[in-house]
């Protein structure tokens, strides 16, 4: 616990007396992060507060805000207006806010005269119409909201009059940073500041955010921003929980059934467990397995992910908060928010793809020993062991993932400009200056700004400068909204989140369970059961958008697959894993298995079971080829049917590998005759035996010269961008998701999106939303800048090509994933396991002595 330092009495003194009393009745002293943050927040400075969940950082922000409001109320200067805004990425803020805000606010209000009490309201997309009208009258001093609702509020005349916000708190800012929501938020904050007419104090909160300066810039633009943080290293403890006999782990795959017994044992022993998986599908799988293995807790085991019905999810969170659950299997949907005090164990199934998200997940546990959140990584395959060890070391040494914050997103800009035009009339130059103050738009070229304005005005190069039905009117260097219809449509279409096309799954009796892809339902055999939200069901009736199901039991039950982008292995983690591989390879080459065991136990602090598994895998690998590292670039040449396959071991994450493979495949076979596939740890090029390349030709496929052009050409010839255009067009207000006539069906929207894409490609490829689609794809999705660096590195590096009769153990995960696509066997997972096992076992076991536990 922190001790009071010399500067503390002044911090304490600055707090409103009622809050001071409330605080010290509960806590002996300010926590470390509160000490560091309060001196900035109380002084009215911008600050980014970085500290783990449960460290009291939210209170550090709220204490100063409440205190300021309290002082104003005392002095009788508190206006009847909105003074402070709290922005959260989560719509369902209920629990979190009550805990952090309700009690101190109540304590403060008790000390204030009845007429000067501080009012707080929650406003999100779920807030009802009547509630909204009541809020407009009641005029809260403190508003809890989301970026989307805030953007909507600023444009509304009724609300805008009562805006005198002096401070804004952005919670979980890392959750906004990597997406377009961050851009929307930054622009909205600038609009808020312009509306209020004086500087806004900006407070950002996050558990893990790196690099700090870039996040501070997202929050504040070029304004000064202090950073208050505590050392993340001391706040987390991860262990790797490998099965007692790690040799039973498969050489590839992410099937959580294999570790289900291990997980069940841990769940039984703890009072409440959060079990995180990489995918929604695996959350369903492990949830089902736990229900089967722990029948006594069947009713207390639930599944929580973004395709489970929202009401059901909230119910699960409620039950978690009130300690009624035994275990909840979740994917990313439970990653954000405060800790659940009753959760005493967090298990991460499968190697995490990023360090920050792993730590974020640990933070949901309420179990703290000296403020340390502990959890276990449970690998589902042998290669997972390496990745887990890399995560564990990076976390231990405090190395965080590098957030990639998008800049100059033109679709969000279009949305914001439209919002501004509804708020009032703007001078073009004034609006441009406002936009350029927002962190992600500091470098926005004026031409891009003009292009977006021109687009919104209905122009375009196709038919004349200003076509019909523009959304804004531009006259004499000023712009404003074209009509009230446009304004109405804008309010219905604020936001940056796009929906997939889903079929709702409902139990008879109209209880919604969740959503699955249409394609998955189509792949079910008649009467076949699947699991959704932890409930096994069978389809009774299939309507256009709804599947009516009944509960199923006893038979084979499938887990749906949801299409969604798998999070790529983070760049930082790729580097960590490469470091581990390099260590292993050099130590193995000099001292063999025994030296490796020593090194893993020493330098890498690995447990015996982890060591046994890794040595087992490496020993097999060495039978085939050396352990692949980055330099030399290791390539395997494999026979594949009548053709052949070049397998590149490149540990760079799936986004980079996707780009590399795409360009190489295009360069080697422009006619589409070379097939490429990729994952986080490598990619391969499959071709006809006749197309066998010389070493020089193969190397040229990675030449950095014209590489970016070739990538652009490769994506231009693919329909991928057509699909990516829809969300951009929706955010950019070109394709409204909802109109006054109702919601556009996602199917129609996809259809319109693909169509508009091809039309624009033909007639106006330079349209700002077309360029934004390409930018999103190249920068955010394909990480093209990093991929180009990697291409140059591969091109310049020494290569070692091994001609092998079958893939080496380290090539198996990707090779097997490819085979999974062509398997038509009834039980794909099982068949895949057999293939992997056979291929792995064909590399003779060298008979290494393994440590026993």
């Amino acid at each position: 616990m922190a001790t009071r330092s010399a500067s503390l009495p002044s911090l304490t003194d600055q707090l409103h007396p009622a809050l001071r009393t409330w605080f010290f009745a509960r806590f002996p002293a300010f926590s470390e992060i509160q000490q560091r943050a309060l001196r900035h927040t109380l002084a009215g400075e911008n600050v980014l507060i970085l500290a783990p969940t449960g460290s009291g950082k939210t209170l550090a922000a709220f204490l100063s805000v409440l205190s300021t409001l309290g002082h104003e109320a005392d002095a009788g200067t508190l206006p009847n207006a909105l003074r402070a805004v709290y922005v959260s990425p989560l719509k369902a803020l209920g629990n979190d806010i009550h805990r952090n805000l309700d009690t101190p606010l109540a304590a403060l209000n008790e000390a204030l005269p009845a007429l000067r009490r501080i009012r707080m309201e929650v406003r999100t997309g779920d807030t009802s119409q009547s509630e909204r009208q009541r809020q407009q009258k009641s005029r809260p001093h403190l508003l809890i909201t989301t970026p989307e609702s805030l953007a909507s509020l600023i444009s509304q005349r009724g609300f805008a009059e009562g805006l005198q916000a002096g401070v804004v708190i952005v919670d979980e800012i890392h959750a906004f940073a990597e997406g377009k929501r961050g851009s929307l938020l930054a622009l909205t904050l600038e609009r808020l500041e312009a509306r209020v007419g004086r500087p806004l104090q900006r407070i950002g909160l996050s558990a893990t955010a790196w690099p700090e300066q870039e996040v501070a810039q997202l929050l504040c633009g070029v304004r000064p921003c202090a950073i208050a943080s505590v050392d993340i290293r001391r706040s987390h403890k991860l262990e790797i929980l490998a099965p007692p006999n790690p040799r039973t782990l498969p050489a590839a795959g992410h099937n959580p059934y294999r570790v289900a017994h291990l997980v069940a044992d841990r769940v039984r022993a703890a009072s409440t467990s959060l079990v995180f998986t990489i995918t929604r599908s695996n959350a369903e799988r492990i949830g089902l397995a736990l229900q089967l293995l722990l029948p006594e807790y069947e009713q207390q085991i639930a599944v929580h992910h973004s395709s489970v019905d929202l009401a059901h999810r909230l119910e699960i969170e409620q039950r978690l908060a009130s300690n009624e659950m035994k275990a909840v299997a979740a994917s990313a949907s439970l990653e954000l928010g405060v800790d659940f005090s009753g959760v005493d164990q967090v298990l991460l199934i499968g190697a995490p793809h990023g360090i920050s998200s792993a730590l974020q997940r640990l933070g949901r546990s309420g179990h703290r020993v000296n403020g340390v959140a502990a959890g276990a990584l449970i690998p589902t395959s042998l290669p997972d062991l390496l990745q887990c060890l890399a995560v564990e070391r990076a976390a231990r040494e405090g190395r965080m993932d590098h957030l990639r914050i998008p800049s100059n997103a033109l679709d969000v800009l279009a949305q914001a400009l439209l919002g501004m035009s509804i708020e009032r009339e703007w001078e073009i130059g004034e609006a441009f200056d406002l936009v350029r103050r927002a962190g992600p738009y500091l470098q926005l070229p004026e031409a891009d700004f003009q292009a977006v304005l021109e687009y919104l005005a209905g122009g375009g190069r196709v038919l004349g400068p200003y076509g019909s039905y523009g959304k804004i009117l531009v006259e004499n260097g000023r712009f404003r909204v074209a009509s009230r219809t446009v304004a109405r449509s804008y309010y219905m279409n604020i936001g940056t989140i796009s929906d997939e096309y889903m079929v709702r799954v409902m139990l008879r009796g109209a209880k919604k369970l969740g959503e699955v892809n249409e394609g998955f339902l189509g792949s079910l055999q008649p009467g076949e059961a699947f699991v959704i939200g932890g409930t096994p069901v069978r389809v009774k009736q299939l309507h256009r958008n709804v599947a009516i199901v009944e509960k199923a039991r006893g038979e084979r039950i499938r887990a749906p697959r949801w299409t969604g982008n798998k999070m790529p292995l983070s760049i930082r983690l790729a580097g960590e894993e490469l470091a581990l591989r390099r260590d292993l390879r050099s130590v193995w080459e000099s001292g063999g298995a025994e030296a490796c065991q020593h090194m893993l136990a020493g330098q890498w602090n690995a447990a015996p079971a982890t060591i046994a598994g890794i040595v087992h895998l490496v020993a097999r690998q060495m039978q085939a080829a050396p352990l692949p590292i980055d330099d030399p670039v290791q390539v395997e040449l494999l026979p594949h049917g009548r053709g052949l396959l070049y397998f590149f071991h490149v540990v760079a994450g799936r986004a980079v590998n996707h780009s590399l493979a795409w360009v190489a495949a295009r360069r080697l076979g422009a006619d589409g005759s070379v097939i490429a596939n990729f994952d986080d740890h490598g990619f391969y090029l499959q071709m006809d035996a006749r197309q066998r390349c010389s070493a020089g030709e193969l190397r040229a496929a990675f030449s950095p010269e014209n590489w970016m052009d070739d990538l652009r050409a490769a994506i231009a010839s693919s329909e991928a961008l057509g699909r990516d255009f829809r969300p951009v067009a929706e955010v950019g207000q070109l394709l409204p998701k909802q109109t006054s006539r109702g919601r556009t069906s996602p199917k129609a929207a996809t259809w319109n999106g693909a169509l508009l894409y091809s039309t624009l490609l033909k007639y106006e490829p330079g349209h700002p939303l077309m360029r934004e689609t390409v930018r999103t794809f190249l920068e955010d999705k394909m990480m093209a800048d990093l991929a180009l660096e990697e291409a140059a590195r591969i091109h310049a590096c020494r290569w070692e090509v091994y001609e092998l009769p079958r893939p080496s153990p380290f090539a198996l995960p990707l090779y097997a994933a490819f085979n999974a696509q062509v398997l038509l066997a009834q039980d794909r997972e099982k068949a895949l396991d057999d293939i992997v096992e056979n291929l792995f076992n064909e590399w003779a076991d060298p008979g290494v002595e393994l440590p026993t536990n």
Binding site: V486, R538, V539, L542
Partner: protein, 265 residues
């Protein structure tokens, strides 16, 4: 399940294509590469689902896409120049939305008038044409609910059609198939669906991406082709070609387990 279908697509792309601007569906009944049908005996050119004015109509609904005709007027002209028909029959959905705005009205009027100068223009009213008579009734265009000659009965397909011994020509359904090559390039191709009693024309409009035949199909398909294998002919705008295999269509399942599944033979 998806795999055999994809293989069809590969062959389609990779097979060398000979230049073919039309295809004989039956003696005297020709499918044009633009997606139109030409009837030799009555010298009539049939165009289904032109959806003229689409771009403007979408803007009126609040979308802000480019204002372009998508080249449809040029394609009508090309087909007219190739066949020099006496009669041009729009087989329903000639316009996209009623009560056009001024530029929209101008473009559509110009197109219909220019066609009327070259041939007799007939409009079979479709579900998008409810306002057509009041919007464009002043133009030299004949409107009706179905059109026929000695060999065929042509309907739009949005309402019940009479039993007939003639060959049925129909629009409304916008048939297309999705093709994908090995490099991942995917696109939709409008197709003619050719059965023993009927043929469904692809949508002529470049904005009607089309309904993927690989998806479960609505009940009218069963009425047209239930139980038979159909042939597909893709119309690319410059070529029309029969696809290499017979296809049994997959109908919408209303009950789990009921209905038939697609087969690729």
């Amino acid at each position: 399940m998806g795999r055999p279908r994809r293989r069809v697509a590969n062959q389609l792309i990779l097979a060398p294509m000979t230049e073919r601007t039309h295809l004989e569906l039956r003696p005297g009944i020709l499918a044009d590469c633009t997606g139109a049908v030409y009837l030799e005996s009555s010298r009539a050119l049939l165009v289904a689902d032109a959806h003229l004015g689409y771009a403007w109509a979408q803007r009126r609904r609040g979308e802000l896409g480019p204002l372009t005709d998508g080249g449809i007027f040029a394609r009508i002209d090309a087909a007219m120049a190739r066949w020099k028909p006496e009669q041009l029959v729009f087989l329903g959905d000639v316009v996209h939305l009623g009560r056009p705005a001024s530029e929209e009205r101008e473009a559509i009027e110009q197109a219909l008038t220019s066609a009327a100068n070259q041939a007799r223009v007939t409009v079979v009213l479709g579900n998008h044409d409810r306002q057509f008579v009041s919007d464009f009734g002043h133009l030299p265009v004949e409107t009706m609910l179905q059109w026929s000659d000695d060999n065929v009965l042509a309907v739009h397909g949005d309402r019940e059609w009479p039993d007939t011994s003639l060959w049925l020509l129909m629009g409304h359904l916008h048939p297309s198939i999705r093709v994908q090559d090995a490099a991942g390039v995917r696109q939709r191709l409008p197709v003619f669906v050719i059965g023993s009693r009927a043929v469904v024309l692809p949508a002529f409009s470049p904005f009607a991406a089309g309904f993927d035949l690989a998806k479960p199909l609505s009940p009218e398909w069963r009425l047209l082709f239930g139980g038979e294998y159909v042939e597909l002919a893709a119309a690319t705008g410059t070529q029309v070609r029969k696809l290499p295999r017979l296809v049994s269509l997959r109908f919408q399942r209303t009950q789990a387990g009921g209905g038939s599944r697609s087969t690729a033979r």
